[in-house]
Symmetry: C2
Subunit: 129 residues, 2 copies
Amino acid sequence: MRQGPIPNPTDAELSILHVLWRHGPCTVRDVHTQLSRKRDMVYTTALKLLQIMAEKGLVVRDDSARAHVYRAAYSEETAQRGLLDDLMRRAFDGSAHNLVMHALGTHKASPEDRAEIRRLLDSLEEEDA
Amino acid sequence: MRQGPIPNPTDAELSILHVLWRHGPCTVRDVHTQLSRKRDMVYTTALKLLQIMAEKGLVVRDDSARAHVYRAAYSEETAQRGLLDDLMRRAFDGSAHNLVMHALGTHKASPEDRAEIRRLLDSLEEEDA
DNA sequence: TGACAACTACGAAGACCTTCGTATATAATA
DNA sequence: TATTATATACGAAGGTCTTCGTAGTTGTCA
């Protein structure tokens, strides 16, 4: 644990969180097994990362059993929002508008994606009214 | 200089690039003066950063005069795209749709912003047709 | 019980980022 | 010319991130 706000996850931390979000609470062994399918990583590295993440407050540890069980401290959505905020502040002058225009302009959005975005815009219009 | 693709700028590097984008080509002195208005930083730190950035290819150096002149190697838009790509790949499963929905959902977009986004969506529809 | 397997704890190395101090060279000036 | 101001170059410290190896503990099973 620690005081203050939970920091944004780093790269390796994010890859571990992905496993936890996808599979729910996991032992180190579980995390390592899953992670090994994507990256090359030794067991103790996963362990160390999880220990550090627990200290940072990124994950919560249940050490009632011999094999400790870890779970993500917050949802993927929350993490995404934190990372997005950070990038927006650092590189987009804090403007969501800038960022969205960029994302839409340079990356493929399917017709379905665009329809969904329109629906979201519609609902935002209603809120303003 | 160096080979391979130009890496994304780090935090301190981004703050220097902001000065160059805003003011055009600058000497170290110029950059440091501008930067000092926002952060606390010693002259030689700005110098060192610019030297490293030149090595990475983030900035281009003109050393024909005694006070070398640096300029950004690419536009702010290009840098933003690179950073956005990176975040999308790491945290949003490579999906612009996810990212946009998040940005719009959790951050204020003015009616003007939304109108502009709609126009962009319209133009994307035409491209598909 | 003894040997082995699986677990946690932890130190430390190597990479990168940021920062600063010092050394050195060059221009400007009294 | 001698002094002072301003430049660049560069080494190194301190921080974080990631990685791994080793030590020590606990459970399992023949």
